[in-house]
Amino acid sequence: MKLHGGISIADDGLNISVRGMHTQMKMMDIISRNITNFSMPGAQREIPIMTSFCEYIGSHGVNTIKDTQPGRMRQTGNPLDFIINHSGYFQIKGQHGVKLTRDGRFEIDKDGYLINLNKEKVLGSDGEPIQFHYIPGNLKDITLDEDGTINLYNKSYNRKEFVGRLSVASEDGTPVQDVKVIQGFVEDGNINLMNETFALLPLRRNFEASRQSFIILNEQTNKLIQMLGRGQ
């Protein structure tokens, strides 16, 4: 800041402390998303990362990375609840192309297609939606092998009939080789509510520290301007 008469005052501290407050808010925003997604099946934790130059570019310097660890598994006993026991995603046929999800809560619609809760079809490893040839009367007749093969037990012939193979893809869409899928479980996401709540505390303290330094710098600038005004 340059005052009239050629006197310059270093006001970088003011700007930096404001940016600091913005940064803490942004990080709190990311943590709030984690808290909302707690126990959301298939949700993945986003870790806020403060990059260098945050003191110059403020909240634009905050980045996130996804925690791709498998989350907690919860047994439901529903034969149409699947989890992937390693990193990887199920492929869903969305309106605008293929979507990836770790949420394996599926249903069978009236035409026999395997669908997710958003009523979108689940893709098999051949790239086509998985469809049951006939509607199983008892869902317990549906069995899943570890490699993702879905079979349907046919009581009248006393044998398992092949239905389809679940496609498991990695983040860039390439198929995962050694697939391990388990039936009857739901993945509750890898967010730990306790850790997220704890992570809020230092953010608040950082915010308060930035605020205090803003107040102190503000007072000093104020004093300086007053002293200059009196001509001392």
């Binding site: 709030s32 707690f38 959301m40 439901t76």
Partner: protein, 235 residues
Amino acid sequence: MFHEIVKRATTNATTQFQKLGYVSTNLVNYSTPAYKVKDFELFLDEAGRIKGTLRGDASKGAIELSKNPLDVAIDGPGYFVVTKHDGSTAYTRDGRFIVNARGYLSTLTGEIIGSGIKVPVNYFKLYFEPDGTVNIKIKEEDDKRAIGKLNIVNFPSPGNLKDAGKNLVVPTEASGSPQTVENPSYIKQYATETSNMNFFETMSQILRTNSSFISSMKLVKYTDQIYRQSINLRQ
């Protein structure tokens, strides 16, 4: 950026509250015979917004023994067909039957089973066969005589059936139309079906709903404090 935290937290709190309502519906129907659990499942759409949908669990409950000869349970997939008072058709798995004033087999709430199975007044014993045939003996030494058959139907997607009150369900577009089960072999007399609610699962749902609600409210509190400190930045 900051408005979003408050909005997201309040949305989450109201959603969890709504979920608690559905969980309590399941909880109070713990002892309703043949009640099917409806779970309010939350998921995230592409934009990261919370969405909810009802997911019916059509699995069979436990079969309990009873002493009443008019208690019939379906120990497998399917529904009984009943005719309501207004003449429309509905479906139920609640097999606690009575004989109404006009002699017809009906549900506890008065819906007639099938298109009407008339039970004679002075019978010795009533039999429900595993395939749904209703047989009767007038005297002890008589042979069994069929007076009707329970019609069992199933739906392509029974989880999507709509509740019609009085423990009855009606088909929706998502559930598909009813299809008759040919020669069922699992109709059981002297038995009722319990609800398929899992008590412990429901309790854990309540706990998780509560913790999510509390932490969302905490976020709103923190945000409010930061707002206040930002407003009073000059002190």
